[in-house]
């Protein structure tokens, strides 16, 4: 990024704070800031640098001692890392949030209708709104789900949609995570640490609470229980302690008071799922699964999986157990399908999308592919089925060799990639050393869909902690900060 307008602020801790064309979450221009950020900046400016460092260390230590860590794959040592935490909260006003909430509710409603449709009648395909081949060629499409009745027609019970802010401050959707979205435990623990480290500051703002998330999640899961199971036994299925999100699985299970199970704890018999307990087998009714489709049932899907439960899919098909999210939801977060979501919203709800998409090039279309191949140095290319920041090319920050590699990959399998313009999404001040510097941030609110749609105000703000970086994923060195939604 080359700042188009750079300048120095008066305050010492802001001397390296450069504004550029990206939207800034705190400043509107030189020396001018969003009104709701005034008390925040005042508070931080008043703190001596040593005091700030002391609180930063207290926060880090608190994360380390609590073991709030994630696992980085592919490294031999130090695989457990704390998720870097930035002390400066990000603030979203009540009216901004109202728009986000409205847009996300609309989006999850439409995507659920879409999943029900494509796994049943397929009206949207018949009407040619979404091309059949886009759905059927998706690697997350599950033929086994055709014609299956899903409790309450809820395919996506938990969704984490990634939003970014454009230069004009407008929130747009970067991608949907409809399979096993993670990060919500960081949202909750960030808040808890923030309240402990900056109680006065927190009190001076009217921040809407988020603590109720786990209870809402439990309620959502309970509402999905199979018929005739009034007191359902709900469990959280985790791949186990080596999974990068294991901390979160344990955290959520404990907060909800449900069992955290692994595949080896479950058995199926006569299409009923049981868990193995010290007093024998106990029936399981609802599974909040944090294991991908591919690995969840070695009989139905990948035979080499040791994380799953043999026979789970049959029990599911028989209606004896509910899974959240359902099998096959990944088809709706395929990055090529993403391009059609605005059309999907219009088709099912007859409404205009409140939250826009980022412009997306589909590489199966020859004209768009041609354009992308000629502009690889300007665009972002993403593999459609990947997540966690893997399988990406960020044009302006890539080498010629990387661009050539992606060009080859795209030509070999155009369906597997999409391209988007490199968006300089919004930046928020972060404490780097002892000064504030702007870093790119996104926002992942968590949407629950059961009896109704519920979104706790806020979400996980992820930060690209490396200067200029546009990648916020924790597996790529990103961090996070507390996200405050104001009640007025």
């Amino acid at each position: 990024m080359h700042p188009t307008q750079s300048s120095q602020f008066e305050h010492a801790s802001l001397k390296n704070y450069l504004l550029d064309h990206a939207y800034d979450e705190m400043f509107t221009g030189l020396g001018d800031l969003h009104r709701h950020c005034e008390p925040l900046l005042e508070h931080f400016s008043a703190l001596p640098s040593e005091e700030l460092q002391r609180r930063k260390q207290a926060a880090d230590l608190s994360f380390l001692n609590q073991g709030i860590t994630f696992t980085v794959y592919g490294r031999e040592e130090g695989t457990e890392k704390i998720f870097p935490y930035d002390l400066i909260p990000r603030i979203i006003t009540a009216s901004e949030w109202a728009t986000v909430e409205h847009g996300l509710t609309q989006r999850i409603t439409a995507l659920n209708l879409f999943l029900k449709d494509i796994y049943n009648e397929g009206r949207i395909l018949d009407d040619g709104i979404v091309p059949r081949e886009v759905v059927y060629s998706c690697k997350h499409y599950r033929r086994q789900m055709m014609g299956l009745q899903v409790p309450r027609n809820v395919y996506i019970a938990v969704c984490g949609t990634d939003l970014i802010r454009l230069e004009n401050g407008e929130f747009v959707v970067l991608e949907d995570n409809l399979r096993v979205p993670s990060g919500v435990s960081y949202m909750l623990t960030n808040r808890r640490v923030m309240k402990r480290i900056f109680p006065q500051l927190f009190r001076s703002y009217n921040v809407r609470p988020i603590e109720q998330y786990t209870q809402l999640l439990l309620g959502t899961l309970r509402s999905l229980a199979p018929e005739g199971r009034p007191e359902p036994n709900i469990v959280l299925l985790s791949p186990g302690v080596f999974n990068s999100a294991y901390f979160e699985h344990a955290y959520l299970a404990r907060q909800m008071g449900i069992e955290l199970v692994e595949g080896r704890d479950l058995v199926t018999h006569d299409n009923v799922v049981y868990m193995r307990t010290t007093i024998g087998l106990r029936r399981v009714d609802v599974i909040y699964r944090r294991v991908d489709d591919d690995f969840i049932d070695p009989l139905a899907f990948r035979g080499d999986s040791i994380l799953g439960v043999a026979g789970l899919f049959n029990a599911y098909r028989a209606g004896n157990v509910t899974l959240a999210n359902a099998f096959g939801t990944g088809v709706a977060d395929d990055k090529a399908l993403y391009a059609y979501v605005p059309e999907i919203i219009k088709y099912y709800l007859s409404e205009e999308p409140v939250l826009k998409n980022v412009e997306t090039y589909l590489l199966t279309r020859p004209k768009e592919r041609q354009h992308v191949l000629q502009n690889l140095d300007k665009l972002v290319v993403k593999a459609v089925g990947e997540s966690g920041g893997y399988g990406m090319l960020i044009g302006p920050q890539s080498t010629k060799a990387q661009q050539e590699e992606f060009a080859r990959k795209i030509e070999a399998d155009p369906r597997n990639y999409i391209a988007q313009p490199t968006i300089s999404f919004s930046r928020a001040p972060c404490l780097i050393g002892d000064e504030l510097q702007p870093r790119h941030v996104d926002l992942r609110p968590y949407v629950l869909y059961g009896d109704k749609v519920t979104i706790v105000p806020g979400g996980l703000t992820r930060v690209a902690l490396n200067q200029g970086s546009l990648v916020v994923n924790s597996s790529q060195g990103g961090g996070s900060k507390d996200t405050w939604v104001l009640s007025q």
Partner: protein
């Protein structure tokens, strides 16, 4: 409770008990070593190894600090203090949502304390290898941390099934450790008391008692007159001392009964018989009878019974066959 959870809690507890025991043996013997002639050193450290069940890959090479090093930090040795703490923490990590936050914090802090590289390099420094410094500060801090963990466990965790499995793990490990300790000392103290030639037998007996944290408790019961038979009786049969074998088995039996209460008595018949038999045999024995028989065999038999109890716990609660469970 999930079988896997019971399994992890049980092992978390066993590993910590083992870490504490090894730590104390090292601390006690490093301390006593300073008062002793070099001639008895060899026998002392061989006895330590014996009392730890002769860990694999660890040999006495004539260098106490090197041995301490291996028993403390060598992760090749699965019984080293470090290995045990890592294993305990790993087990607790698998059941984080089952233990209290306070427990996790205490154990995680201990883990960070012993695995932080700078701690190791400080303690492993050349000064240590050359015998210039004592690692006792480190060993003390580990023992304190384990004691704190036990306190936090008792005061913050539901005393339900999970807590009972923690008790089972702790006391089965402790009973075996005390039996092994008595075996290791028996050869020298009761079998061939004439072998103690340098008049330092008092130190050896004191060392034995301290290895089981029993010195002060023993003195309260028998005064500071250390006699081998009374020591044996105290460590084997005392009803009120937490490290005696009898106390351990009583506590084990009590925890198993609570667990059986939850899971149904009929299922647990075999286990009840095994643990009940061991408990009664200890409750109705006299020290003279035992000392008149094959003592090593007797102690070995207690360990064998503990192993049988362990295996039965597994068959009953952890690794049972699905067919049997569905039929039942």
């Amino acid at each position: 409770m999930l079988s896997r959870v019971a399994d992890s809690l049980y092992w978390m507890s066993r590993y910590l008990e083992r870490a504490e025991h090894t730590t104390r043996l090292l601390d006690v013997n490093l301390n006593l070593m300073l008062d002793e002639s070099p001639i008895s050193a060899e026998r002392r450290w061989q006895r330590v190894l014996q009392a730890l069940g002769k860990p694999k890959n660890v040999e006495w090479t004539g260098e106490p600090y090197a041995l301490t090093q291996a028993l403390t930090f060598d992760t090749e040795n699965k019984a080293s203090i470090l290995s045990c703490i890592i294993a305990a923490r790993e087990n607790s990590r698998h059941v984080r949502e089952q233990i209290s936050t306070e427990q996790w914090h205490r154990l995680n802090s201990l883990y960070l304390q012993v695995t932080r590289p700078e701690i190791q390099s400080q303690t492993q420094s050349e000064a240590l290898v050359q015998g210039m410094t004592q690692p006792s500060e480190f060993l003390q801090s580990v023992m304190e941390a384990v004691h704190q963990f036990q306190g936090v466990t008792d005061s913050t965790m539901n005393h339900g099934e999970g807590w009972q499995f923690i008790q089972v793990g702790r006391y089965i490990e402790r009973a075996c450790a005390t039996a092994l300790l008595l075996q290791a000392y028996h050869v020298d103290l009761w079998g061939h008391s004439e072998r103690i030639v340098d008049g330092n037998e008092y130190l050896d007996w004191m060392g034995l008692l301290r290895s089981a944290t029993a010195f002060e408790a023993y003195c309260k019961v028998y005064t500071a007159d250390l006699t081998p038979d009374q020591i044996f009786e105290f460590l084997l049969l005392d009803e009120e001392f937490p490290h005696s074998i009898r106390f351990s088995i009583d506590s084990l039996q009590c925890a198993l009964e609570k667990i059986q209460g939850d899971s149904g008595k009929a299922r647990a018949e075999t286990l009840r018989r095994l643990s009940g038999r061991l408990q009664s045999s200890l409750n109705y024995s006299s020290v003279d009878e035992i000392l008149n028989q094959d003592v090593l065999g007797y102690l070995g038999n207690i360990q064998a019974q503990c192993r049988a109890i362990h295996e039965t716990i597994y068959e009953l609660y952890v690794d049972y066959s699905i067919q049997a469970a569905l039929a039942g």
